[in-house]
Symmetry: C2
Subunit: 198 residues, 2 copies
């Protein structure tokens, strides 16, 4: 947004300062690239503010997010910004093997951890990477997610990424961006490559 002016001033009794510091639920969804990379870009801003950042990675792959993970761990360790904690939820599963019961249990436990951290205000920004999938597959109850997010205390921002975000999640979110694929090199036979996909 090039200009910071809202389209309208709401009659909500809040001061500009209060509106400026409203905690947000942000969803990056859609079939295009950039959902997770944009979330990690936001994490850079949070780090720069000195905020504790919690990353919760819900889909496992040998190569996924290695660049982001290394970068954010190094940044967190510098002490020049906020600390960064990187959680891998359900280390043993990938979204391809989605019919296995223990994966569902691991995802549910991952979400339970997030709910505990939100209650304790452990972080100021949460990146729930690929969290739309365990919701979509019914491993995590969307009503519970909406309830916990809505009731979270303090000024905690939550960024959720992944395709096919549940309509109830979108309704609960403050900011939703859909990444649309206009042109993709894999359509032309391109393989995934380092520095781009991971």
């Amino acid at each position: 947004m090039p200009q910071g002016n809202p389209a309208q001033i709401p009659d909500d009794g809040l001061t500009t300062r209060q509106r400026r510091n409203r905690p947000l639920v942000i969803v990056h969804t859609g079939p295009g690239k950039g959902k997770s990379t944009a979330a990690f870009g936001l994490a850079l801003r949070a780090w720069n503010q000195g905020w504790p950042v919690g990353v919760f990675q819900f889909v496992k792959s040998a190569k996924w997010r290695v660049g982001e993970e290394h970068a954010l761990r190094v940044l967190g360790d510098t002490g020049q910004g906020g600390p960064v904690t990187w959680h891998k939820m359900g280390e043993g599963w990938s979204w391809i093997q989605r019919d296995q019961t223990d994966h569902a249990e691991q995802a549910a436990e991952g979400w339970a951890q997030i709910a505990r951290d939100l209650a304790a205000q452990t972080y100021r920004m949460y990146v729930l990477d690929e969290f739309t999938y365990p919701i979509k597959w019914g491993w995590v109850d969307v009503d519970d997610v909406v309830s916990v997010l809505t009731a979270r205390p303090g000024a905690q921002h939550v960024v959720i990424t992944g395709r096919d975000a549940h309509p109830k999640l979108l309704e609960c979110a403050d900011l939703v961006t859909e990444m649309t694929k206009v042109k993709h090199p894999m359509d032309a036979g391109q393989k995934g490559q380092k520095g781009i996909e991971w």
Copy 2:
């Protein structure tokens, strides 16, 4: 992309390895959030690969990108990944004051610098942040941009962000993602805030 398999294997005589390492022109456009944050997320992956990263910022604002700039400068200085060079093109202008001739000259000089760096293979990944605007305003000739990008040597990836990407730029790009605004808190009177917008 959860799976690395292309939709089809092209009859281009290239090996999988060659296709894996094809230099890309990537465009993040559209009215939604996440265009620049996703580009800086890609820069994290490039940094992690040890690649020299060059950021060219084409729009100035007191607060814009301060988080990303600090984070990427710190990362570059650690020596644990690639070096990062951050260029501010046209320090004195912002996109709001777009009718001033010297801004056009500064943008043109900024592009000339990028063209020189591409010819010299100074970086492995280029982030041309908000570069769609000087093209849109005619400050930089789109045919020249396409020509330079198409003829660039080596394995240099170029990521360009901004709304209203020129059709010729989209045609030249390998990967185009459109960020669409589904829901935005400024529509509900929310102000821009630290850690989110900067």
